[in-house]
């Protein structure tokens, strides 16, 4: 299951989606909206996705994982829309016969998702908002000015 969903991820049962009788370990990773970011108080987050492509790229990450680790099942779901603090933006489930490969594969899945899946986060504070992902460029601009 590789899906972009325009609504809450809470209540979606990914474990039974990925488990087979060969598996001894299931890991579910959830990224959740947190209160503090870059020293500011977050009011809420907004996620936007290029959904058709995001699902394709998430499925590609699933293929990469299965080529690299003996993993039975991979599921990745990401939501869009407005998220209150504590709500999950992404859920990744991995089932594998042994836990070592399950941990490695889950960490790879979230690292890779953050690199290549076309989804964007906007942080909304009480006094402003910003699309995340441009920090590096902004930092460079600041450095040039202060240099």
């Amino acid at each position: 299951m590789f899906k972009v969903i325009d609504g809450p991820l809470e209540g979606i049962d990914l474990e039974s989606e990925v488990r087979t009788d060969a598996d001894g370990a299931i890991i579910v990773f959830r990224g959740v909206a947190r209160r503090y970011s870059r020293g500011r108080d977050v009011v809420h987050l907004e996620y936007e996705a290029y959904a058709e492509m995001a699902e394709k790229v998430m499925a590609q990450i699933g293929e990469e994982i299965k080529a690299r680790w003996p993993v039975s099942g991979v599921a990745i779901v990401h939501r869009t829309g407005v998220l209150e603090i504590g709500q999950a933006s992404v859920a990744i489930a991995i089932a594998a016969p042994h836990r070592g490969e399950a941990f490695e594969a889950t960490e790879y899945a979230i690292d890779r998702l953050k690199q290549i899946v076309p989804i964007w986060k906007k942080e909304v504070w009480s006094d402003g908002e910003q699309w995340i992902g441009w920090e590096h460029e902004q930092h460079q601009v600041t450095s040039d000015h202060s240099a």
Partner: protein, 85 residues
């Protein structure tokens, strides 16, 4: 020299690009044989961020290089640095 035949591609814009352009999608006529780089030149007048803050570009859901040649009906997406997760 006869002018190159025109083709039409679908443009998708996201996040900061979408807000800068004021639209999620538009249709653009380009010359037959035009590349992704040519399309960026064409759109940069309306959406300067495509040149000043370049991201990645996908054609039909696959990331491509600037020299990728466009074809009639292609869906071209401008992808600012991603921040999912």
């Amino acid at each position: 020299m006869t002018p190159a035949a025109q083709i039409s591609v679908q443009i998708r814009l996201f996040a900061s690009y979408r807000e800068a352009a004021g639209t999620r999608s538009l249709e653009a006529p380009v010359s037959q044989g035009a590349t992704v780089a040519d399309l960026v030149e064409l759109l940069a007048e309306r959406i300067p961020a495509l040149r000043t803050a370049p991201g990645l570009i996908a054609v039909n859901y696959t990331y491509v290089q600037p020299d990728f040649e466009l074809h009639q009906g292609d869906e071209v997406a401008f992808i600012p640095p991603v921040s999912g997760g």
